[in-house]
Symmetry: C2
Subunit: 242 residues, 2 copies
Amino acid sequence: MRMIVKYKIIYEQLKQAILDGTYPEGHLIPGEYQLMRQMDVSRDTIRKAMALLTSSGYIQKIRGKGSMVIAHNNEVPLTNLISFKELGHQQGFKPKTKIVEFKDLIITDKLAKETGFAVDTEVWSISRLRFIDGVPSIIDLDLIRKDLAPDMTKQAIHESLYEYLEGELGLTLAYSENDLTAPLISTKERETLELDATENRIIQIESRVYLNKSEQLQYSIAKHRPDKFAYHEFIRRNNHGL
Amino acid sequence: MRMIVKYKIIYEQLKQAILDGTYPEGHLIPGEYQLMRQMDVSRDTIRKAMALLTSSGYIQKIRGKGSMVIAHNNEVPLTNLISFKELGHQQGFKPKTKIVEFKDLIITDKLAKETGFAVDTEVWSISRLRFIDGVPSIIDLDLIRKDLAPDMTKQAIHESLYEYLEGELGLTLAYSENDLTAPLISTKERETLELDATENRIIQIESRVYLNKSEQLQYSIAKHRPDKFAYHEFIRRNNHGL
DNA sequence: CAGTGGTCTAGACCACAAC
DNA sequence: TTGTGGTCTAGACCACTGC
């Protein structure tokens, strides 16, 4: 049902061509008019596809010249919805995940304030421990609206939560708000992450994810072992290619 | 010369109306057809303005209903190009800045690898120390292409580097790549940031900023006192309102 | 049903880069 | 001058929401 949209198809095609190396980094992709004739669509449709390539960090438009392919990092989605990159490990980086707890609960007054959910909302509660290089590196807690994702199974969670929500359930994630801080570590966290006494802080990422209708779908909090923490982000600072 | 563009003007108007409270959070702004007649422009122009509002995190479009105003955080730009927010201090948060060193230098082989600049590039080198609540909290080093920003003065730096580059020089920032890590602290850094012996790490943000023509303008590295570190980000996860 | 945003089209003119 | 991307227009049809 989704992806029957022309500009998204063209976007995927061009994206593939860039990843394949058909259009190498630093080179120009075909111009808008050329693609328009080639694909037999209107220029606006081509421009929409290009806007996606631009905001995804594949190309950079240059007026008068063309659209240049820029460096792209093979990002590894970790912590579900935050795009991560293990700096020391270029390829084949596959973290192991252990599900510590999987239950449902109802949001209390206290939790409501912390998570952003309304009181009495029913949510799934998923605690996970993630390993990098065999070392326990991330403590994850996810709360997810039960009515929006009723068929959550352990299986689905073991894979990518992100893919499950967008792929299987057909939910469209609209935006998220993330807060990064470095609070003091607790005794329990120190034990779980096998940290010695010289470490006194963890890197904490709190995240709230919203759907298209402006409803909150998820709250999550991830606590990272500082020596395994690496976060990469690509930020556009202009019109995203309008 | 800039801002003579219709959709940007409309964007600014609507943005102001949202900030003013004319369109409160959770409410719908006028529809596309209504704005189109009101402003006497084409629908496409309205949609472009709305796309900006969407990617800036002011509204969320909902098909069949309208465009809803969503919660917006008054972000404080710190570290020039990274958008910050002091979580504990809602309003009037104004950090003090001390310029430690200001000189020009030429990129060596070693620096080239680290910063992304080509060898022999001439850059400004600016070392700063930033204070939050009177506490030295961030050590900043910025390297900026000298040929692109030749008239850099101490004055300009004391204010906002960001505003200087975009406003005065008319440069258009295209995108940036940021890497966050938590490396071990050095003795010198511990002294500068007045950290006691229980702290063993700093939060480090490396950033490379590129212009429209895909040229690198800036490299910067910021080292944060962990107890003063707070980073907030808004991330769109869909089409940005195409 | 009427109203909203989402997609697509065809055409025009402008601003900029390269030759 | 030619080709590129940037802006703007007017109109069409579709998909969804709410009454």
